[in-house]
């Protein structure tokens, strides 16, 4: 039991990471990572929604009719997202302006629905809590790495504090404009996946599609 709980909580950090292995939640991982502060807020929002959503769905899992379960899960998730959005507007107004629609879009974030549908529907409250928290933290880990790389190389700052002095202020660092555009998010996530998979060999996928045989079988 204890080992299982440990695996459910720590697995999503590296071994079963929602972003780098399941490749979910990529949209927000590209959109909010131009600087560290919005990314951190987004991580907190997603982690709390995933955890609370998992717990709530797990609480009422025996009373949800199977035919309308997705609707009920989405209703729970969207209520939680509205609460989180209101809290962010109350306590971090400027940053929540920067996040704009992406807090609302947590409703459609694949990670949250994947966890409620795939885990909380069949597991107890404690395990569901650990699973939601683990997946939220796994997502946060990747987002923090991507956001700090992009902000450091794209603007020379971290959390708005200057780390690398820019050339126009008399330093040596020339900011890399590409790092503030969405493609760099793809590059960094791709490099991270490469790095993790060359360290964690079981994550490597077998080649499924071979173009030459595919063309030949279609021609026949």
């Amino acid at each position: 039991m204890k080992n299982q709980a440990k695996e459910i909580f720590l697995g999503p950090l590296i071994n079963n990471n929602p972003v780098t292995l399941q490749v979910l939640g990529i949209c927000s991982a590209l959109a909010v990572t131009t600087s560290l502060l919005p990314a951190l807020l987004m991580c907190m929002a997603l982690t709390s929604v995933a955890t609370l959503g998992n717990v709530s769905v797990s609480l009422i899992r025996h009373h949800i009719p199977s035919s309308i379960r997705i609707i009920i899960q989405i209703t729970i998730i969207s209520s939680l997202v509205i609460i989180v959005d209101q809290i962010l507007r109350a306590y971090a107004y400027e940053t929540s302006k920067q996040l704009s629609v992406f807090v609302g879009l947590i409703i459609t974030n694949c990670i949250v629905l994947a966890r409620t549908e795939g885990f909380a529907m069949n597991n107890g409250i404690g395990m569901s809590f650990l699973d939601g928290l683990g997946h939220g933290l796994g997502y946060s880990l990747i987002l923090v790495i991507v956001a700090s790389t992009r902000e450091l190389l794209g603007a020379g700052t971290l959390m708005g504090v200057s780390i690398l002095t820019l050339a126009k202020d008399g330093g040596w660092f020339h900011p890399i404009g590409l790092m503030l555009m969405a493609p760099s998010g793809f590059f960094i996530i791709g490099l991270l996946i490469w790095l993790i998979r060359s360290w964690q060999k079981p994550q490597l996928e077998q080649t499924v599609v071979r173009t030459h045989t595919l063309v030949r079988s279609e021609a026949s």
């Binding site: 020339h174 404009g177 063309v215």
Partner: protein, 315 residues
């Protein structure tokens, strides 16, 4: 590959004669960086270095990249583009013959997006800094170097002029305009054309590809020029400004990242011309050739499927 390099030499020399020592230095730096990085990656991948390094493809990539780059860009911009082109675009996708994108063009676009300011420095034709100053500028420690060489390319002059609601007849009074396109720089385009003819005569490239590319570009620009000649430049200008000639003979004829079927190559050339014209005319950047080549690079597999020749006996 050696013949391609030879065909590039007259154009490079003319470019250097007009724009100064920077051109030669960027070419040498690019070749140095490219061969060094290529041998390191080949060593890491345990591929015989000698056979793959001396096939000349690395040198052609480096030369094409250096020609696209601004002659007075700092050395680290050169290194960044070459590193992206050779290491990421060429070797991460499987090395020579496996790359989806043209390494030189992908490296150039990467540098352009990373350092747009540094890549917009061009001297006035014929009025370039001396050799030592050039080294200082490329080393990046020339005081206020963008002010020291404040020229503009003919395409950026056209773009900013049109942005200021001027007519083309007014804009072309500017001293950067020549007879065909840019003053002096039109000669570089003419020499790329001559180099391309050399390649066609030596049967290195097929004549259809450049003809379709230049023809498509000519036709589109003719339609718009005929429609409104005060806001759209003439077809001859479109062909001789920016990178049109270089792309027609040296970039879209690259065998690896282009389509592999004969009909696919012609569609590739036409598509590149259309996208280049669209991006150049209505886009944010003065020239759109590089972006157009990348767009067509990743549609090349689709073109291959569309134009697959019928197997003998297949219905």
């Amino acid at each position: 590959m050696l013949q391609v390099s030879i065909a590039l030499v007259p154009g490079i020399l003319c470019y250097a004669w007009i724009m100064g020592w920077g051109v030669i230095l960027q070419c040498l730096l690019a070749i140095l960086f490219a061969t060094t990085l290529e041998s390191i990656v080949l060593l890491i991948r345990r591929i015989p270095v000698k056979a793959f390094l001396f096939d000349g493809s690395t040198v052609v990539t480096a030369l094409l990249f250096a020609i696209c780059l601004s002659p007075y860009a700092p050395w680290w911009a050169n290194l960044a583009g070459i590193a992206f082109g050779v290491v990421v675009i060429k070797h991460c996708y499987g090395g020579l013959g496996q790359n989806i994108f043209n390494p030189a063009i992908a490296g150039y676009v990467f540098t352009l997006l990373c350092f747009p300011m540094e890549l917009s420095i061009y001297p006035d034709p014929g009025n370039y800094p001396g050799f030592l100053d050039t080294i200082r500028i490329i080393n990046g420690n020339f005081p206020h170097y963008p002010d020291a060489i404040a020229g503009a390319t003919v395409l950026s002059t056209l773009k900013s002029g049109l942005h200021d609601m001027k007519m083309i007849s007014e804009i072309s009074q500017s001293p950067v305009f020549g007879v065909l396109a840019g003053r002096s720089t039109e000669w570089i385009a003419a020499l790329w054309f001559a180099g391309g003819i050399f390649l066609i005569v030596r049967k290195i490239i097929k004549w259809q590809v450049p003809v379709v590319f230049l023809g498509t570009m000519f036709l589109i620009s003719l339609v718009f020029y005929w429609f409104d000649s005060s806001h759209y430049p003439s077809p001859v200008f479109t062909l001789f400004a920016g990178g049109s000639m270089l792309a027609a003979f040296f970039i879209i004829t690259e065998p690896v990242s282009s389509s592999t079927t004969p009909a696919g190559r012609l569609l590739f050339a036409a598509g590149t011309a259309i996208f280049a014209y669209i991006i150049r005319t209505w886009g944010n950047y003065p020239d759109g050739i590089a972006f157009a080549v990348l767009i067509m690079n990743f549609s090349a597999p689709l073109l291959d499927r569309l134009t697959r020749p019928r197997v003998l006996g297949e219905r």
